[in-house]
């Protein structure tokens, strides 16, 4: 999320752990060309480290056998790759059609005003980050919120307030 124009370096080298490595090799055998592995490798890297750093880009390029610029291109085109660390809890609120019609704005306002969590930002304590995203495919139970991949449907301010205290 946030600024997608520049990579951050951690200053430490990156490498897949043994389990991730095995999954990388399993998938690589499924494609006739190596470039197909850029997206899966970025996903694996993000699962391991939480976000995509400059070192991750270099590592993925090396593993796939391509240029870092190609990996960077995909990491910036596809919005789900985090080029910055996100909060312990990364909150996505759907801003699109059906959620808009069923008052997603109340949820965004609550997060900003009461919980101090603003779109595109990580809270000072690092616990929360917020992103407004496009339709999440749960329009029949709008508005929806996704936290660390988990969907919360038919949301409203009360439910979200209660949920945040259980996460805190």
């Amino acid at each position: 999320m946030s600024d997608r124009s520049q990579l951050l370096a951690t200053g430490k080298s990156f490498a897949f752990d043994a389990e991730t490595d095995a999954e990388f090799e399993r998938l690589a055998a499924r494609y006739p060309i190596r470039e197909s592995m850029i997206m899966p490798a970025l996903w694996l890297a993000q699962q391991q480290q939480g976000w995509i750093s400059a070192e991750t880009i270099e590592y993925v390029a090396e593993r796939v056998g391509t240029y870092p610029a190609k990996v960077f291109e995909l990491a910036t085109f596809y919005t789900m790759y985090h080029l910055r660390p996100v909060g312990t809890y990364h909150i996505c609120v759907c801003r699109t059609l059906s959620c808009y019609l069923r008052d997603k704005q109340e949820i965004v306002d609550f997060l900003a005003d009461e919980a101090g969590i603003r779109p595109g930002q990580v809270s000072d304590d690092g616990r929360f980050s917020l992103e407004e995203v496009e339709c999440l495919g749960h329009c029949g139970s709008a508005p929806v919120v996704q936290i660390n991949g988990e969907f919360y449907e038919d949301m409203n301010v009360e439910k979200l307030r209660a949920l945040l205290t259980t996460l805190a």
């Binding site: 997206m39 796939v64 596809y78 059609l97 019609l101 496009e134 339709c135 495919g137």
Partner: protein
């Protein structure tokens, strides 16, 4: 009104697990399938009248027939599980509640078209869903339904899940192929069509999840059994997703051809809070809006939607009540398409941005009547001048709001923003 063809196993507990699914009929088509000639499978699917459920409604069997024969190249099947068109949430039910129907459908399609490597492209946001799907695939491998000898036959089939990572445009079939090839999701110009030059330069069929999951019923029960549902030209059943301002939003499987007004009233519980209907988006955000008068006469099939100058689309029905501000709704829509433009065509990349600016100007009370005309002209100038139809998916609905709810745009242009007035009064 509801029927259970695709959704037959949706309410069975743990039907995502292979043993439970099998107890309830999964994989029972395969004996019939492998006793058929490949060409007969294609003919049966053609005869069933099944049309693509991803939005465009192209006849599935006819599409398969476009594959060139004996090219010496592998044939690929890419299953479209990108499901990112706003208001569309039907394929997810298949992925989560009955993934084995999808896998069985993939076996049927792959056998018919001679494919040995299939990819399921699933949107990145479906995180728990992809785990359930992968578990089902792993089970299918373990039980011998996938792998070197499918169901003990001399037929190899591998199925690989490829995760997207947040780009609506990758639902467009050639962008999807680019994405699997490890590139940005930028649609290709056609021709050549994917059936001839598709994935990795080879002949490729792309079908929606629901299209593929419809196949086991058709092969088991025959084309006529499928055609018994729906209308003469719009055959079978569809998973309709009803959202927005209704009492009971949700996913409902219905035969095609039912009156929309009745479906909203009896299936979805009517407009919520006792309010009046203002309009209905019939098939996902890119389909032109219908007024209450039109809603009263339209039926849920391809022909009636076309006769009402809109589209059946993805079956994502959005009900709008009387409180909806159509100008704000249009702002929300344009913002979506602008954000999702892949950027390779100037009319789409820049034009949608101009449209967004103009609507925002109107909303801020700084627009003029000339702006409405400008918006309309932009719609006409962007459409059909681009590589893919993402731009038209924005301009077609926007034009419908401008034409059918023009007074609301004029009110912003002439009287300024209504809320600001309210604020000043309060």
């Amino acid at each position: 009104m509801e029927v259970k063809i695709l959704s037959a196993r949706f309410d069975i507990e743990n039907a995502n697990r292979i043993d439970v699914a099998r107890q309830h009929g999964a994989y029972q088509t395969l004996d019939t399938l492998f006793a058929m000639e490949q060409a007969d499978v294609i003919e049966t699917v053609k005869a069933s009248g099944l049309r693509g459920r991803g939005g465009a409604g192209f006849p599935t069997g006819v599409k398969w027939g476009f594959l060139p024969k004996d090219t010496g190249k592998p044939v690929y099947l890419a299953v479209n599980a990108d499901e990112s068109e706003p208001a569309t949430f039907k394929d997810r039910y298949i992925l989560v509640r009955d993934p084995h129907a999808l896998i069985e459908g993939i076996i049927i399609c792959s056998y018919a078209i001679g494919c040995h490597d299939s990819y399921i492209y699933i949107r990145g946001e479906y995180t728990s869903q992809v785990k359930i799907l992968q578990q089902a695939i792993d089970e299918a491998y373990a039980e011998g339904y996938l792998g070197d000898r499918v169901a003990g036959r001399n037929f190899r089939l591998d199925v690989t899940v490829h995760r997207g990572a947040g780009a609506y445009v990758c639902g467009e079939e050639t962008a999807l192929l680019e994405s699997i090839e490890g590139k940005k999701g930028q649609p290709r110009s056609k021709p050549p069509f994917p059936a001839v030059v598709g994935l990795f330069g080879c002949p490729t069929i792309i079908n929606n999840v629901q299209s593929i999951a419809s196949l086991p019923f058709i092969i088991t029960n025959g084309a006529d059994a499928y055609k018994a549902y729906g209308t003469e030209k719009s055959c079978g059943t569809h998973l309709f997703g009803i959202s927005g301002h209704v009492e009971k939003p949700g996913m409902y499987e219905l035969p095609l051809g039912l009156p929309l007004a009745e479906v909203i009233e009896t299936v979805a519980g009517g407009v919520w809070k006792g309010r009046r209907l203002k309009g209905v988006i019939p098939g996902g955000s890119s389909t032109p809006v219908l007024t209450p008068d039109e809603v009263a006469t339209v039926t849920l099939d391809y022909e009636s939607m076309a006769a009402h100058k809109t589209m059946f689309g993805s079956g994502g029905i959005v009900v709008l009540d009387e409180t909806v501000d159509m100008v704000k709704l249009v702002e929300n829509l344009i913002a979506f398409y602008h954000h999702e433009s892949c950027g390779q065509c100037t009319p789409c990349r820049e034009g949608l941005g101009w449209m967004l600016k103009i609507v925002r100007r109107l909303l801020a009370g700084e627009g003029t009547v000339a702006d409405i005309k400008l918006l309309r002209e932009l719609c006409d100038n962007i459409e059909m001048k681009t590589v893919c139809v993402l731009s038209a998916a924005c301009t077609m609905p926007v034009r419908s709001y401008l034409d059918k709810f023009r007074d609301e745009f004029e009110a912003y242009a002439i009287d300024g923003a209504p809320e600001q007035t309210e604020l000043r009064e309060g």
